[in-house]
């Protein structure tokens, strides 16, 4: 940090400015674009452990930067994407993954939507079939007392010309 020549107050601000870093920093970016793209894709599904619901790609936290560097380091060593994820979950648990695994209890999570859709479509089909073959209801809905009163008031009133 270069503070020489600046007044003290500015130095305080500079220090404060310097505390949080922008998400991905220029010095983190890998030379190989393909590898860098894989690193970015991975860091989008990894949760920043100390933030509230941010992935490490967007996070300003120090640990997010460490994790981004770690992912790049593993990729440079030739790890596959799955190996990098396994490396991270071994240390931080599944909590660190924003995309839950499709296994165990999470099957309920992943399956809920499609299963519900099928059930709902089946139910709707049965309902529609019933409605398409049904005749009009045997009894018309009767008027409420209030409606009856209004109807009588209307019909007994002299015609408005």
């Amino acid at each position: 940090m270069r503070m020489r020549g600046l007044r003290l107050i500015l130095a305080v601000f500079l220090l404060a400015f310097a505390l949080p870093a922008l998400a991905v920093q220029p010095d983190e970016v890998l030379k190989d674009p393909a590898l860098e793209a894989r690193a970015r894709a991975l860091s989008e599904i990894v949760r920043c452990p100390v933030c509230q619901g941010e992935n490490i790609d967007d996070s300003n936290a120090g640990i997010a930067r460490d994790l981004r560097l770690l992912i790049r380091e593993r990729l440079m060593k030739g790890d596959s994407d799955d190996e990098v994820i396994a490396y991270l979950t071994d240390r931080y648990g599944d909590f660190i993954l924003f995309r839950p695994r499709v296994s165990g209890p999470n099957l309920i999570l992943w399956g809920a939507g499609p299963v519900l859709l099928l059930v709902a479509l089946l139910g709707a089909f049965l309902y529609i079939r019933r409605r398409s073959s049904a005749g009009p209801p045997a009894v018309e809905a009767p008027l409420t007392r209030e409606e009856q009163e209004r109807l009588e008031a209307l019909t007994s009133a002299p015609p408005m010309e």
Binding site: F17, Q25, D58, L116
Partner: protein, 650 residues
Amino acid sequence: MTELGHFSLSLALAIAILQATIPLIGAQTGRRRWMEFGTPLALAQFVAIAVSFAALTHAFITSDFSLRVVVQNSHSMKPMLYKIAGVWGNHEGSMLLWVLILAAFGAALALFGQGLPVALKARALAVQALIGVAFLAFILFTSNPFDRLAVPPFDGRDLNPLLQDPGLAFHPPFLYFGYVGLSMSYSFAIAALIGGRVDAAWARWVRPWTLAAWIFLTIGIAMGSWWAYYELGWGGFWFWDPVENASFMPWLLAAALLHSAIVVEKREALKSWTILLAILAFGFSLIGTFIVRSGVITSVHAFANDPERGVFILGILALLIGGGLTLFAIRAPGMQARGVFGVVSRESALIVNNILLAVAAFVVFIGTLWPLFAELAFNDKISVGAPFFDRAFTPFFVILALVLPFGAILPWKRGKLRTAARPLMGAAALAVALGALAFAMQTGRSALGPVGMALGAWLVLGAMTDLWLRAGRTPARLARLPRSDWGKAAAHAGLGIVIIGVSGVMAWTVEDIRTVKVGESFPLGQYEVTLDGVENGRGPNYSTRMATMTVREAGAVVAVLHPEKRFYPVQSMPTTEAAIQQGLFRDIYLTLGDHQDDGGWAVRSYVKPFTNWIWAGALLMGFGGLLSLSDRRLRIGAAARRVPAAQPAE
């Protein structure tokens, strides 16, 4: 002033208790006077809460640091706009705004509901007041904004600088109008369940309120998304954050409710489903409030975490949702559908619409609450984030977009698939051609962009086809179509435009991260960006570092932009102010980072195609809703006059 506000709030609670009981007893025992008493009570309740809200606003404007909320969320040097916005930029004040809007809807019903059956109106006002009682008690007992400090400090702690933004100043009120607007659908649903009667007239009454709430939600969500886009500094527009989901679920269900209420109104079918949706839509609003206010799910928005408040809201939730569903279970089987329709018909199409929207809402719901559930049930600590929702949610909207134009032109009662499909052939061919063109023009083989373009175009062209058919293929008749036809077409086309925007920006964003020295240039897509200089400056309650950057295309200057980094000393918090050059087909988005050791500056730059289509589409959807609403209002008067006579016929 402050004591008056506090007193007035307590008074409002007392009035709300009366309003929740007297008209209801009147409706059950047939006492007209008692029923009609709901109207003045609703107006009085609104006035009392408005006085209370005005008192709190006054405290914020005059920086009355004897109030705890003012100390915690304001500062004497804060700009006036944010002093006022600070009223609802905190837990206590935002809950006060919540009940103010609730009472405003109640008062609106009291004023404009003259044509309603007296008993229905009395019951709806009573239910509305019951919600008011619950939330007024919540405010007075757990979150009183009028709490005093024994020793007032000299100055306040300021509002979170991220929230000091014009976009965010008006985002919460809009969202609250939407959330709370759904309370009207709920109140009508409960009133109808108590009264045991759901018919076309009922649906005609519920629809405008639901539509209004949905418009507010649409605009509110769009504002929040736009704020995130330019304020958070990396150009994201949607994060599937629990708090965003909390507003999205009611939006989805309100959209479903709008459509199913049409079926009740026109065809007297889907009655019990519509009632259920009305209960659930407001239920999800309450769940949203619970998620935001309790901090039960960690979220970037959690500025007011408090478990005790969470338990109180959970109690309200159990009362209103549980009570509503119980009543539904008892009364719904008695509701008889009357309309008869074929398998291929508008009715069936709207049922499919409802299924897709409801299931999509359910996916958002389970994804949002799953981490909590997995921890309680399986002791698994897991996370569910954007990668899940992108995969699990998107398919439902793809299907929805595919079937929508067909459904929109199917006739009521009974139609033929082939007859409906024929006029849409042109739209389909054009949409596929556009998708193919996008595929040919893009680098890479991603399907996201082309499919999004084709789907969006299909929706827009489908909406145009719909209008064309409604006008009997005669241009002269287009202008004479009812506004609801235009509203429907605008809203559907708006959805298409949103889809184009979302898929375009997700598929084709160009990003560049690098260190730049003053005077240096670098390429960004087809542009060249130069960092001309970086200067320090001061704002009213922050200090800033502002860069000057010139964007050129083929040597010609496209824009001179000033991305900033601000520092708010009171909260000791920096913010990134991106500089954006907006365009019809792309945004140029620049952010300034830290000073680097080699003397350069970290700079993140993006070209983001079709971004503005997202918000333009959302606005168009809201505008479509407004058009439809303005049409409905005319029809309500007509409907109310027709109701008694129209009843025995069909």
